[in-house]
Assembly symmetry: C2
Homo-oligomer: 109 residues x 2
């Protein structure tokens, strides 16, 4: 096998897990960290910043974009990338809801 039975779970579970999955690689976290530091940049800047080849960075950017974590604006031959807060807010509120419920109902073993 190796596939995920996503039809067996709720839409929200699938949505948040897809965003979490996109953040489940250090290179993509590093890309977000860099984007946060510089505000916005083009793909080539990230290639210079991280020790990965250009096609690899491009693929990671694609996954971040598919998850809604970044957006890209075409500027001539370059593409200007920046963080999109929506997906971040989605999983942040999911986690905050977990923390709130844990604090209110601390019946942990």
């Amino acid at each position: 096998m190796g596939f995920t039975k996503s039809d067996l779970f709720t839409p929200e579970q699938n949505t948040v897990s897809l965003i979490f999955k996109a953040l489940g690689h250090p290179a993509r976290v590093a890309i977000l960290d860099y984007l946060l530091k510089v505000g916005e940049c083009i793909c080539g800047d990230i290639v210079n910043e991280l020790p990965l080849a250009q096609p690899t960075i491009s693929r990671h950017l694609k996954e971040l974009k598919n998850a809604g974590l970044i957006k890209g604006n075409i500027e001539g031959t370059a593409i200007c990338y920046c963080i999109s807060q929506e997906a971040v807010a989605t999983i942040a509120s999911y986690l905050d809801s977990i923390l709130t419920q844990l604090n209110n109902n601390n019946n942990c073993c």
Copy 2:
């Protein structure tokens, strides 16, 4: 290839990406959701709740435990699982920090 060059990234990037990765599957999100609803439970309860086989649930529980997201207390032949808030708090504060910086410095393209 298929491996991750984790030695190329910062310890924090590796730490948070490992936690995110553990949440990057809908079955593991569903397990957390169920644990949050019932407070604590044993593996068999989750097997009855989710449409996955017992070894598969056991494997997912192992990954959640490795990431620090749950803890398990042995109670006779069963193991009582519950959410551990530390890992949740780690990535929640990481995301909150991103959101704060995005609000303060909105130079997005």
